[in-house]
């Protein structure tokens, strides 16, 4: 007796779906496209993704538009019993909440397929009731691309501020931050295999900054579909050990009393605790297959000599920080830079190890809700108990560029600010 209910494997064979996939690319190519395009191309290359659900919201909309353009052009039409059918479909729902609900039904129906959407800001907020359920559901085959945009419409701002991603840290998803189109493309390919690993079974939320990355073009390498399938199929089990609604006999989303609720949460925590090791193993495989590094918990620059002063940042503006720090190190200053990629689960132990020799850490937050910033709180907890001073900066809110002068100012302030202080910095000035 299967503790999760009967499975009828003979009624569902996904091989026809895999075989009928029409590849977008047959060899590696270097193309130029914006971030939404990079995410859309990767999404369309999965044979496991037959339905894309969506509702428009800036700046994520172009992902949906591009998916629709390819599908409506007949790019995936196959002949089935003398009839032309598209092996990929777009589902346009009436609200983001409906998109999330739809994904629940689809993902629970067949756990071996990948169901994707993209959204931003208040769109993600509108989904919240269901994204929180999804986080605990065990449906690791849902991918929600979060194109960062400021939340809370007073005032409304459509540019890339990760306040949406931070507001949804508690949804229980795996959240990975990308910067640059290659990272976006590669992360989209790798992340589903982490979420769908039977030890993990947690939905994934790759994210990138709206406008800066979603709407600006850059060259990057696309891989042949066959290679992507080889990579994903080597890590995603052909049959999920848990029954889907179609192939199995199962009950999902039950009520429980407190006597059992903690048990479910304990299981969820155990699965979340597996993410880092599963991610690391899949990154190794990714590098073997594609020759580029897979997802890392964080990028560490200039950290080899254990610098006493370190900036912790995330997002595309970290590139400017890299250049500023490189120059100042040439002038003799020992500075380091850490760029966070794995937001949830936050890689606290690894970060603590990387930062343990630092005296002062400046954490640069691109979103503000209260106190010293979410990222500051996470980093402070990671290094708690160590003799390290953490300082919170707010810069680049609402997707504003963080200029060279601002990075310079924040580095200068590291030696001045007292423990626990925070500052808003813009164009080299403290606000």
């Amino acid at each position: 007796m299967n503790p999760y209910g009967s499975i009828f494997p003979e009624v569902l064979d996904l091989e026809p779906l895999r075989k009928k996939h029409i590849p977008l690319y047959r060899r590696q190519e270097r193309i130029q496209m914006d971030g939404n395009g990079a995410a859309a191309i990767a999404s369309l290359q999965f044979w496991r993704a037959p339905i894309y659900a969506g509702f428009p919201i800036t700046p994520s909309t172009k992902w949906l538009e591009m998916i629709s353009t390819y599908i409506n052009a007949g790019r995936f039409v196959v002949e089935e019993n003398g009839r032309k059918v598209s092996a990929k479909r777009v589902k346009l729902l009436e609200a983001e909440h409906a998109v999330a609900d739809y994904l629940v039904g689809a993902a629970a129906a067949c756990r071996e397929l990948i169901f994707m959407t993209a959204t931003s800001s208040v769109g993600l907020d509108h989904m919240t009731e269901t994204t929180r359920s999804l986080g605990a559901s065990g449906l690791g085959n849902v991918v929600l691309i979060n194109v960062y945009r400021a939340t809370a419409n007073y005032p409304l701002c459509i540019e890339g501020d990760p306040s949406d991603a931070f507001a949804h840290r508690d949804d229980g998803w795996i959240q990975v931050v990308c910067r640059g189109k290659q990272q976006i493309y590669d992360t989209l390919i790798q992340l589903p295999v982490v979420g769908m690993d039977p030890r993990v079974l947690i939905p994934t939320m790759p994210g990138y900054y709206g406008i800066k990355d979603s709407h600006r073009s850059e060259p990057f390498f696309v891989e042949p579909d066959s290679k992507i399938h080889e990579f994903q199929d080597s890590l995603i089990p052909w049959r999920c050990p848990l029954p889907g609604l179609i192939v199995g006999e199962t009950a999902m989303g039950n009520c429980v009393t407190s006597a059992h609720f903690q048990g479910f949460k304990w299981e969820q925590k155990k699965r979340m605790d597996q993410v880092l090791s599963v991610l690391t193993a899949s990154s190794k495989k990714f590098e073997e297959v594609f020759g580029r590094p897979g997802i890392v918990p964080f990028e560490a620059y200039f950290m080899e000599d254990r610098p006493p002063r370190v900036l912790v940042a995330m997002g595309p503006d970290a590139g400017t920080a890299y250049e500023v720090i490189r120059r100042r190190r040439k002038e003799g200053e020992r500075l380091g830079l850490v760029v966070v990629r794995l937001l949830t689960p936050f890689p606290s132990s690894l970060l603590r190890e990387a930062l343990k020799s630092a005296g002062v850490i400046g954490v640069v937050n691109n979103a503000f809700h209260s106190e010293r910033g979410h990222l500051t709180a996470l980093v402070s907890e990671a290094v708690s108990g160590l003799p390290i001073q953490t300082t919170g900066f707010f810069a680049g809110l609402g997707g504003a560029d963080i200029s060279v002068r601002s990075w310079e100012k924040m580095i200068d302030l590291l030696s001045v600010l007292k423990p626990g202080e925070s500052r808003f910095v813009h164009e080299g000035e403290v606000l």
Binding site: A95, A106, P243, L245
Partner: protein
């Protein structure tokens, strides 16, 4: 909708329901009777998947691990066609979740990956489908998704303690419209849920109670054979919230139809619909007092004395207004039997 023969009632009664003993629904709850009967209708040789909103019918039947009152037969299914799955997501989106399952099964079938068909039934309360979940319901209908939607109507949010919902009878007591000297209960007239479902484009719309077993069976079978969305509204007397004596569920369900408050209604797109178990002549129709009097939620308006209803002095106006609403409701539904999307 296929023209296949409807199963005779006895044949239906002998089918194996996917609703099992063990639920914690109240004794005399109409929802459990409806589940039992819809559950039988789904024993038709096609694998069944249920989606649930959050409502009494979910929290009282899907309590893990002791009372999962679902599954066909006493053992796990050995045949795919008899197998059964169920999923609860959130309060208001049973039909959207059902649509996700429907589309996934359809593309798998069309591409030759899935060998056998499935049927999907979305279950919600009236709060979940017509108040907070109206968007979900209407858009699923509008997209013509091939799912059967069952909405159990008890006129309030029963699961959270009988708060006002948009289906509440005028002047009824709910926990958020308690009758007082200043405001005598719910002041709003109910929303026309049957009309909304028809206008959104449902292929089949029924309002029918298991108190009329043949009609209920007919509605279930017709709904399950639709190629687009079918909606069954099930008026469901609620002993805890309506506050009536044990054993009167079926009687009240019949009176709900006969008085015109919830007339039995069946309508298939493109064909003439029918109003049943209600007199079209208002003079011949069972007066609403018969329905109101046994329920303490109308105790501020009507009392039952020696089995006969008696209007509370000073509340004649409210009772007349409820009667007027019932009369207009029948007229509206009668017009809808001949109404179709152009």
């Amino acid at each position: 909708m296929s023209e296949k023969r409807l199963a005779p009632f006895m044949e239906m009664a002998q089918k194996e329901s996917c609703f099992r003993p063990g639920s914690t629904l109240c004794v005399d709850c109409m929802e459990s009777i409806a589940f039992q009967n819809v559950g039988r209708a789904t024993d038709n040789g096609i694998k069944t998947i249920y989606t649930m909103g959050t409502f009494c019918g979910e929290v009282s039947t899907l309590l893990w691990p002791t009372v999962v009152a679902w599954g066909r037969g006493d053992q796990e299914a050995t045949q795919f066609e008899k197998s059964f799955s169920i999923i609860h997501n959130v309060f208001e989106s049973a039909s959207t979740v059902a649509e996700g399952i429907r589309d996934t099964a359809d593309i798998l079938l069309e591409l030759g990956a899935l060998k056998k068909p499935i049927q999907v039934v979305a279950n919600s309360g009236d709060g979940g489908a017509l108040v907070i979940g109206l968007r979900s319901l209407l858009h699923t209908i509008h997209r013509r998704s091939r799912v059967t939607v069952v909405v159990l109507i008890n006129e309030f949010f029963a699961n959270t303690g009988f708060q006002y919902a948009v289906t509440a009878t005028p002047y009824s007591e709910t926990s958020t419209t308690p009758p007082g000297d200043f405001i005598p209960g719910n002041l709003e007239e109910p929303m026309n849920h049957v009309g909304l479902a028809l206008m959104a484009g449902a292929e089949f719309v029924a309002q029918v109670s298991p108190a009329f077993p043949k009609d209920f069976t007919e509605a279930c079978e017709r709904a399950l054979s639709c190629s687009e969305t079918a909606v069954i509204f099930v008026p469901s007397p609620c002993i805890a919230g309506w506050k009536f004596k044990e054993g009167r569920t079926i009687e009240l369900a019949k009176l709900a139809s006969e008085t015109g408050l919830f007339p039995t209604f069946l309508k298939e797109k493109g064909k003439a619909g029918s109003l049943r178990h209600v007199s079209l002549d208002s003079k011949q129709r069972t007066p609403i007092l018969r329905f109101l009097a046994p329920q303490r939620r109308f105790h501020h308006l009507v009392h039952e004395k020696n089995g006969e209803p008696a209007v509370v002095k000073g509340r004649e106006k409210e009772v007349a207004l409820i009667q007027d609403w019932a009369n207009r409701n029948v007229q509206t539904l009668q017009r809808l039997t001949a109404w179709d999307v152009a």
